[in-house]
């Protein structure tokens, strides 16, 4: 073999070039995968950002719609509508009461809970969007990836 390399030194150059090329190809593949994963994460991040903005917009729109509805059923408007339909407020002597012992109306209103809980939600995103390549490889190496 040394004789062969001495007679044709270009063989050695091809060998070293090949090794270098192999490394470069390996690095390019790794870089490509890294870039692809990061691009995917960035895209998901952007989508998430847009969804969050949309979520906020929907909450605000919902608030505006609730306000519009509340305005429509406000006592002032309802009184006007009732008057338009020919109704008027009842007077005490126009009402007949039937008293039923022990009967109680228990339809007490309970307000809805606030929209935000005040707690972070770590389980909301799949780990595939958040873990690094190193974390993924180590998880893969110990057989945790199923």
């Amino acid at each position: 073999m040394p004789q062969a390399f001495k007679q044709a030194p270009w063989r050695l150059q091809i060998l070293s070039t090949g090794r270098t090329a192999l490394w470069i190809v390996g690095l390019v593949i790794l870089g490509g995968v890294y870039l692809a994963v990061n691009a995917k994460v960035a895209e998901a991040g952007r989508e998430l950002l847009m969804l969050q903005q949309q979520h906020e917009l929907l909450i605000r729109t919902n608030g505006e719609l609730s306000a519009a509805y509340a305005e429509l059923i406000s006592p002032e408007i309802m009184m006007e509508r009732a008057a338009y339909l020919g109704f008027r407020p009842a007077l005490p002597d126009e009402i007949n009461y039937l008293i039923v012992d022990g009967f109680e109306i228990s339809d007490e209103f309970e307000a809805p809970r606030p929209l935000t809980s005040g707690e972070s939600r770590p389980g909301m995103l799949s780990p595939s969007y958040t873990e690094t390549l190193g974390e993924w490889l180590s998880r893969f190496a110990i057989g945790g990836d199923r």
Partner: protein, 574 residues
């Protein structure tokens, strides 16, 4: 080789520009936060409902106008002020001045456009979604005026769908999302939640779960909007018919302190609160007069004085008194409301005829100062009631320990002169008489709903200033009053108790000879009191007397109230 050299030189030039060029502060700021953007996340402010679940306060969006100063063009510096002044009817020169300042040289790359309020203070320009839509269309249209650099930043805005209804109770929220007065002010910390600052990765925008800021709680009030609306209508009608300057009606359940309605005139629309903050006389605005405004109660206060005397055992309902038409207490001569002598009286007739001389005699000759003021303290006078409305004051009660107190105060205080109460203090004190001697704390919030569940405040007993028996006796005396001086307040088939009040208006140089405060406080049905109503009209023109001006308003309110509360008539014998 040449190309490599050129690239190296170019790189060096760019590095120097980044380090020392005009955008150096931007890059420095960017370096400080890394590739993330710090964002302040403001949670949605809690909602407010009435007791039946009708929405009283919610959130919408307004848009703040901001300008990215580096993106301004010579055309947009002219077009932005031009468009905004026409669309929003704002002074053109003010906007031009803001746009044409050299902000970049001052290191300002983003500015918020402002307008000037009536007091000359700059306020951020807020536009609603319709104006925002027009401006966004301009921004997107290449043929429209050049608005380069202008951006519309969404900003939470509080809205009150019922407008003026219950405005004085609710208070308002300013542009910085801070609550003031009423419920908004008192529960501001709870309603607003806790804004947090998060670091949002932007280069690249990373997908990461972000914590939610702790949200504001939702509140359910004790108010009944049907009753509130009825009361506001009656108050508006009374103000108009009596020619009064201002007024107030409060409806409370004396058994548990729940405020069912609270109306004040002039009305306040919390959506448009700014005019209220600009008092022409430079005084602090009183947004919730039920707790922040005080008045001399006049004869309605006789309920407290008589209850104290009966409870102390110094008089009985049939204790006799000869009314000579005047009495001197501490060098001050006190006369009756009509200046006449009423002759032989009992305590019952003293109350029925609302005699100042008689009550001054009870306070000075029977009770004495130490005992009277001990009772007044027990009734909570001179102290906060603790009602959950922002801006409550203590009123003014001078006791013998006060350096300015004189013996004449003892006489005048007995019939509600020379001391000042808030309407809520009067409600709490008289509520004790209505509620069998037990004084409960007035309150406006019925339920607090947070992320972890609902909490309902319990009734708080402030004290027992008088016995149940005394309360019953005073009530019966006031039922009798309803048949004489307060006949205009009575309602057929319902047993009600109440007392009129006509108070002089104190001024800088003594009492105003012309104006009065006409009031009426009453409750019912006396066997099972479910409502306590205070009517107060300031400076009525048609008549100075509470019995003429305020008592009929009480009757009108109660006539509707018994229907809303589904209170059947008392059984009438025969």
């Amino acid at each position: 080789m040449l190309a490599m050299g050129l690239m190296t030189v170019g790189l060096l030039v760019q590095l120097i520009r980044v380090q020392f060029g005009p955008y150096a502060p931007v890059f420095a700021a960017r370096e400080q936060v890394g590739s993330s953007r710090l964002e302040r996340v403001i949670p949605a402010r809690g909602l407010i409902f009435d007791r039946d679940g009708r929405l009283l306060a919610t959130n919408a969006t307004s848009y703040v106008l901001e300008v990215e100063t580096r993106q301004l063009t010579s055309a947009s510096r002219k077009d932005i002020p031009d468009v905004l002044s026409k669309v929003l009817l704002l002074p053109l020169d003010d906007l031009e001045e803001q746009l044409n300042r050299d902000w970049v040289a001052q290191g300002q790359f983003r500015i918020r456009l402002t307008r000037t309020d009536k007091a000359g203070e700059p306020l951020p320009i807020n536009v609603d979604k319709y104006v925002a839509q027009v401006l966004n269309e301009f921004l997107a249209d290449p043929y429209a005026p050049d608005l380069s650099g202008l951006s519309l930043v969404p900003n939470p805005k509080r809205i009150y769908p019922n407008g003026e209804l219950a405005g004085h109770v609710l208070g308002f929220v300013n542009q910085e999302n801070e609550g003031f007065f009423g419920v908004e002010g008192y529960y501001d910390e709870w309603l607003s939640g806790k804004p947090i600052t998060i670091s949002r990765p932007m280069i690249p925008p990373e997908a990461r779960a972000q914590p939610d800021p702790p949200g504001g709680v939702n509140l359910v009030l004790t108010l009944d909007m049907d009753i509130q609306q009825m009361v506001e209508r009656e108050l508006a009608a009374a103000i108009e018919s009596s020619g009064s300057e201002s007024g107030e009606i409060i409806v409370m359940d004396p058994r548990n302190g729940e405020i069912l309605a609270l109306a004040a005139w002039p009305t306040l629309d919390p959506n448009e609160y700014e005019p209220w903050l600009l008092d022409e006389d430079g005084r602090d605005p009183i947004i919730t007069p039920a707790v922040g405004g005080m008045f001399e109660p006049g004869s309605t206060f006789k309920v407290i004085t008589m209850a104290s005397a009966l409870d102390a055992g110094v008089v009985e309902p049939d204790t006799e008194f000869i009314d000579t038409g005047e009495i001197e207490v501490g060098g001050n001569t006190i006369r009756n409301w009509n200046g006449e002598a009423w002759g032989p009286q009992t305590m019952l007739s003293c109350m029925k005829n609302s005699l100042n001389v008689c009550l001054a005699w009870v306070a000075s000759e029977k009770l004495g100062a130490p005992m009277l003021y001990r009772y007044l303290r027990a009734f909570g006078l001179g102290s906060l009631t603790g009602v959950d409305l922002s801006g409550e004051i203590t009123g003014q009660l001078r006791t013998p320990r006060h350096p300015d107190w004189t013996e004449s105060d003892l006489g005048t205080n007995s019939f509600g002169q020379g001391l000042s109460l808030t309407p809520m203090q009067l409600m709490a004190a008289v509520g004790a008489v209505a509620n069998g001697g037990v004084m409960v704390q007035p309150h406006i919030v019925r339920q607090v709903v947070g992320p972890n569940g609902a909490y309902s405040p319990k009734t708080i007993v402030l004290g027992r200033p008088i016995s149940a028996e005394t309360a019953r006796t005073v009530t019966e005396m006031l039922v009798s009053s309803m048949e004489s001086e307060a006949v205009y307040a009575s309602l057929e088939n319902y047993r009600l108790a109440g007392k009129t009040g006509t108070a002089q208006v104190p001024g800088e140089f003594g009492y105003d000879p012309k104006w009065t405060i006409a009031s009426f406080i009453g409750w019912g049905p006396v066997d099972d009191p479910q409502f306590l109503v205070l009517v107060r009209l300031d400076k009525p023109e048609i008549s100075p007397w509470g019995s003429v001006v305020a008592a009929p308003v009480f009757q009108k309110v109660v006539r509707r109230l018994v229907v809303f509360l589904e209170i059947p008539p008392d059984v009438v014998a025969g």
